[in-house]
Structure formats: C-alpha cells, structure tokens
C-alpha cells in the first residue's frame, strides 16, 4: 500500500438544510457514564489522579458522540495527553511560582508588608481564573467537530479575565443584582468570538431571547433566598435558646446534627426559589445564539431544573459520588433534548476553520480546579 493519496479536488456541492430537519438531542446512556465515572475514580486513586485527564477525555468523547443535530453526531477529538501536558505547563509556569511567591512573602515579609504583596497576588489570581476559563473553552471548542468541521474560540483571554473580575466586583457591590447581566455579558463575549468552521456565531438580542424574564426570576430567587435564610436564622436563634445561646460553648454533637439537618430544608427552599431563574438564564443564552443562518431555541422548563437537581443529588448519594459524570451527562442531555433550530443552513458554504488550534489545553483551569467535565 502506498502513501495516502488524494485525487482531483473539487468544490463541495451546496447542501441547504432547514433547521426543522435538524433535530438536536443527546442519547447518552446512564450506565455508560456510570462506568466511565467508576473506572476514572478507581484509576485516579492508583495514579495520583493523573488518569483524570484520560477519564475526562473518555467522558467528553462519549457525550459528544451521543449528541446529534440531524443525523450527524458531534465529535470530541481531544486527547488525555494534551490535557496532561497542559496541566504540567500550567503547574510549572504558574501554580508553583504563585504558591512559591505566597510562601516566600509569608516567610520573608513581616505582617504589615505581607498584605501589600498578598492582596495584589490574590487579585491577580481572580483575573487568572477568568483567563483560565477562557483558555479551557478555547481548547474544548478547538477539539469539537461536527460534519468534519472544527469549532473555534477566538478573542482575548486576558480581556475576558479582566471583564469577569470587574463584573464579579460589580455583582458583589450590587448584592448580586448585577449577576444575571454579568452572566449574559460574559456569554456574549464567548459566543460572539466563537466559530463553526468559517461561520461566526453571534450572540444576538433577538426578541425571543430578550423576552425571557431574567430579572423577574432573579428577584424571586433573591427575595426567596433572603426570606429563606432569614426564617432559618430566626428559627435557629430561637430553637437554640435565644439570647442565651453561646456558640463558643455549644459544640456538642446534637447541636452540629441539628445545624446540618436544618440546612436541608433551607437548601431545598433556596433551590426551588432559584430553579425558575436558572431555567430562564439557560434559555436566555441559548435563544441568543445564531450561526450560519440558524437560530437556537430552548424549551427547558423550571420543572426540568427541579427534577434534574433532585434526581442528580440522589444519584450522587446512591453511587457514593462516582456518578458525577452521569450527573453532568444528565444535565447536558436535558438541555440538548430541549433545544431546537430554526432557519436554514447551507452546509456546502461552511468551510473548514482556519484558526490555529492550541496544541495543549486546560492546564490552568485544571490547576485552579475550575474544570467541569464538559
């Protein structure tokens, strides 16, 4: 057999497909994901978690291979070794120097000078978190392919890092009220610089997207959270003996059990209060997306979020934690199965992406423990 040969290049014919003929969804099986989660957990123990890069790759391959638009599935082409090399680079160029600088400052500077060095270092870390998230996504998209065409993320990682930091400060100052706007802006920054081959995504403010009740749902979550916490704190205060309660002397087991037990209804209440907002935000972002003439839509409901949260918590408990990949799959499967496409796309007009893909990835995000598996 001779070398790879290729004859007679010709232009690809046009292939216009209506969004209605491109049903989107995911058909992942829970057992397959439980198996990947199980062996990843076991092998992590014996490999000092080095296997996690390969486990994550297996998960993504399976998840994307089970995700389809029309009759074609998505492909994840990343490799465990790329993630591992990226991690090593990040550890030796950033994490160890950072930790070294913090330790050196602690050892060599007095308490007064220490804060002058530590505070800027930690502020820089917050910006680096945003940079890491952006770089991880750039890698992930560059290793995602549909119909042989690669996705890509362009734009400035540093700009994203500063924006995420600034929005975080604004969110804190406004007691959370800037949060939804921050999330939308950061999504826009990502998607407006994302490509499917030669086609650029756009994050539009179309009517379907902007009609989502972002701030009404946030108000319910915010007020609900405040009321829930207030009722919980008041109940705890009274049930612990009111003004006579002294937490310093009350450290018995019964107190700790009561404290944690009382948190369960609080978490459920706040979760319920936030479910509507979470569904709204996911719909808001998906409905904003357009690429190559098709617009994305979502029917994800508040009930979807509530049901997924409850069943996923149970799944995690009953699998002793190794169901974490199945949990992430179930979230994506529901989002994908509630998604649809409108408009028309000409696949023949979409050419291969020419942006240079990173040779390794996600190391920084992994070093900072920011990685979700998908």
């Amino acid at each position: 057999m001779s070398e790879f040969t290729q004859h007679m290049a010709s232009s690809a014919p046009g292939e216009r497909v209506s969004g209605a003929n491109l049903p989107v969804g995911n058909r992942s099986k829970i057992l397959a994901m439980l198996w990947i989660g199980f062996y990843t957990t076991i092998l992590n123990i014996f490999t000092l978690t080095i296997f996690r890069f390969w486990g994550r790759t297996h998960f993504r391959r399976r998840l994307w291979a089970d995700t389809y638009a029309g009759e074609e599935t998505i492909e994840y082409t990343g490799r465990g070794l790329e993630l591992f090399v990226g991690f090593l680079i990040a550890i030796f160029t950033l994490m160890i120097p950072f930790v070294g600088a913090v330790i050196a400052a602690q050892l060599l500077l007095g308490p007064d000078l220490l804060f002058l060095v530590i505070i800027p270092l930690y502020l820089a870390l917050f910006i680096i978190i945003g940079v890491a998230i952006f770089l991880a996504r750039r890698y992930h998209l560059s290793r995602t392919r549909y119909r042989g065409i690669r996705f890509a993320q362009t734009g400035s990682a540093t700009g994203y890092g500063f924006a995420a930091f600034g929005y975080g400060v604004l969110t804190a100052i406004t007691l959370g009220w800037f949060g939804p706007e921050a999330r939308i802006r950061l999504s826009r920054r990502m998607w407006d610089n994302a490509y499917f081959g030669s086609e650029k995504f756009s994050f539009t403010n179309n009517e379907a997207a902007t009609s989502e009740p972002v701030y009404a749902s946030f108000a319910l979550a915010w007020v609900g959270g405040l009321v829930g916490y207030g009722v919980w704190a008041g109940w705890m205060f009274l049930s612990m003996g009111g003004e006579d309660f002294d937490p310093a002397t009350t450290q018995d087991v019964e107190f700790i059990i009561r404290l944690y037990a009382s948190l369960i209804p609080l978490i459920i209440f706040i979760g319920l209060a936030m479910a509507w907002h979470e569904a709204v935000m996911i719909r808001r972002i998906i409905k904003s997306l357009e690429v190559g003439g098709v617009r994305f839509s979502s029917r994800l409901s508040t009930f979807d979020i509530i049901e997924l949260t409850i069943t996923n918590v149970l799944l995690l408990i009953f699998t002793l934690g190794f169901g974490f990949m199945a949990v992430q799959m179930r979230v994506w499967r529901r989002i994908a199965n509630r998604m649809s496409l409108d408009g028309e796309i000409d696949f023949g007009a979409i050419k291969q992406n020419e942006h240079l893909a990173p040779s390794q990835g996600e190391g920084l995000a992994d070093g900072l423990d920011l990685i979700s598996n998908f």
Partner: protein, 368 residues
C-alpha cells in the same frame, strides 16, 4: 477478498456530505466518492466512534476527514488490520498508558515521601542562618497576630540571657535566641526556625515554681533549634504541598489518601525529631550545670495539669485535651524514665526565686 460498504464522507474542507463507497482490501481502505478517491493505510486509521448502527473512521494524514459506515465495517477493519484495530488493541494501549501512569505516580510518591524528607536535613543545614532567622522572625510576628504576646519586657529581659547562655554552652548554633510567651491556656512550647522559641502562659502555669523544669523544656526547644527542625519541617511540607497541587481537581478519595499518607509521614519524622531534641536537651542541661532529669518533672507536671481539671469546668475544656507538646512526641512514660536516668547533681539555678516569680507571673497580671 475485498469487503464493500456504503456510507457517507466528510472531506474536512466543507461541512457538506457526499455518499461514499468504502472498500477494505489487504493493502488498505479505499474510499470512492462521486468526485474523489482516497486511500487510507490501516496504520493511519482511527476509529472515532463506534455505535450500534454506525461507526466513524478518520485518518491521521487527513485529520478532519470523517468516513461514516455501517457498524459491520468495524469488524471488517478489525479483520484487515488486526495489529492496529484488533479486538483488544484499544484496551491494550489504554492498559499500557495506565501502567505508565501508575509507575509515574509511584515514583512521585517515593520522591515526595522518602526523597524530600531525606533531603530536608541536608537542605536545612545548607540554608544560610541569616535567611533562617529572617523566616523565623516573620513567622513569630504572624503567630503573634493570632496569639497575643503576654510577657512583659522585664520578664523577658530576665529570661533571655539565661536561655542564650544555655544556647551558647549547648552549641546550638544561633547566638541570638528570641523568647516569647503567648497567652493561651494549653501548656505548650515550640521552636520556630532561626532561634525563635515560644512558650505559652499555660506552660508557665503548669510548671509553677519549678524553674529548672521550665528550663528543661526550653533546652528541648533549643535542641530543635540546633537540629534546625523548623526549617526541615518546612521543606517536607513544601513537598507535600506540591503533591496536593498535583492532585487538585482529582477525586476526593485520592486527595484524602495523599493527606493521610502525608500526616503519617509527618508523624514519623516528628517523633524522630522529638527523640533527638530530648537527647539534645539532656546535653544542653548538663553543659549549663542543670539537672537533665528536670525534663521528667516537666512531663509529669504538664500531664498532671491536663488531667487534674474539673471535667465540668468548660473554661478549662481546652486544657483537658492532650497538649500538642506531648501529642506528637514519643511515649511520655518512656520519656520520663529516660529523663530520670540522666539525673545529675547540679549547681545553683540561674534565676533567683524572686526573679523566677516575675517570669512565672508574667502573664497572670497582664490583662491589657
């Protein structure tokens, strides 16, 4: 005999699809589309996905091209390219990779749990003393932002020359010894790097009038200073920190395993160092003309102060716990016996009773 399958092909140049016929032959896989023909050597072919009804193939030399064929084509590939795509080829490759990972993990573990602790001693000895003193001074300042210093200058002025004299005759290696007493009821003493020694008000309370027992505890801490144990612990911890950094993001189980292994390693080294510091204390006491057996009295008094409090007295709850000074140390009864065996006749105590009273009560009257 060749096997033919009909499928579809993406050339990796545009997103459009074309029908394709794939022919598996001995020499390789031949792909025919209406416009083009391709030949993929088996060694270059990668199975991108294999599902119940379809499989997807790619080739390293045409990295974005995708050939989608019926699932049966996967068997044909295994048949024609046993070496690359046989039934267990993928599992074998992954198994080999996992074996390399486990070997790497074992090597890292050995370096950090055996190599780094073994190197920590020579590394500490090679560290310039001025650098170590600076580290110790900053650590002491940071500790005092949490634990308030309670001894008056007058009491420290009395105590410091005595300890420095012991350090000089005991060949501790640091001329300047900085003594500090911090307010906390747990009877404890510890040495930081570079000749910084701290004792707690709880230790003074526990030892009461027994000046010699207090000096024996100080001699033990001077032993740590001489052996540069604070710096050695720092180097060991840095190794453990690095390992934890590597497993960050990994599973909780693996992180816990590393933490437990790290604690056990620390404990083993701490015990060795404590035994060495006891030996150093006997020598330092003897050279200072003091009775090494006073260390035994210190152990007894500290143990008694921890056990004698009223169990219902919440204010002394922290005292009832095993003091740190004893917890990480070798068996207390054995240490008492060893210290008693070193009993020797001694001269006068360095501080007059009235001066010792000033030191002993240093934290009792200072509520400010």
């Amino acid at each position: 005999m060749a096997r033919r399958f009909e499928g579809r092909f993406f050339d990796g140049e545009s997103a459009s699809t074309t029908p394709a016929v794939a022919i598996f032959e001995t020499g390789g896989l031949f792909i025919e589309t209406p416009a083009r023909q391709f030949a993929w050597p088996y060694r270059e072919i990668a199975v991108l996905d294999s599902q119940a009804t379809e499989c997807r193939l790619g080739a390293r030399s045409a990295p974005d091209a995708v050939l989608v064929l019926p699932a049966a084509a996967r068997d044909a590939l295994a048949e024609y390219a046993k070496d690359h795509h046989g039934r267990h080829a993928g599992a074998r490759r992954l198994g080999a990779a996992v074996a390399v990972m486990i070997a790497t993990a074992a090597l890292i573990t050995a370096i950090l749990f055996v190599g780094v602790p073994a190197a920590s001693g020579p590394l500490a000895q090679a560290t310039p003393k001025g650098f170590e003193q600076r580290i110790g001074a900053n650590m002491a300042a940071q500790i005092q932002t949490v634990f308030r210093r309670c001894a008056s200058d007058a009491s420290l002025d009395l105590l410091t020359p005595v300890i420095e004299e012991m350090a000089a005759t005991g060949d501790v290696g640091f001329e300047t010894i900085r003594i500090n007493i911090v307010r906390t009821s747990a009877p404890n003493a510890f040495a930081l790097p570079g000749g910084q020694v701290m004792a707690t008000s709880g230790l003074l309370d526990a030892l009461g009038d027994d000046q010699e027992a207090f000096l024996a505890v100080m001699a033990h801490e001077l032993g740590h200073v001489r052996n540069r144990d604070g710096l050695r612990a720092f180097y060991r911890n840095a190794g453990l920190g690095l390992l934890l950094e590597i497993v960050t993001g990994g599973s909780g189980l693996a992180q816990q395993a590393v933490l437990i292994a790290g604690q056990l390693t620390q404990l083993r080294h701490t015990r060795t160092q404590e035994a060495a510091a006891d030996e150093a204390a006997y020598e330092i006491m003897a050279r200072a003309g003091l009775d090494p057996a006073a260390l035994a009295r210190a152990f007894v008094a500290i143990t008694a102060s921890v056990g004698e409090d009223d169990e219902n007295d919440d204010e002394n709850a922290d005292k009832r716990k095993m003091p740190n000074w004893l917890k990480t140390h070798p068996d207390t009864d054995e240490r008492i016996a060893a210290a008693k065996a070193r009993a020797a006749s001694t001269g006068d105590l360095p501080l007059r009773a009235s001066d010792w009273a000033i030191v002993r009560d240093a934290c009792r009257h200072d509520d400010g």
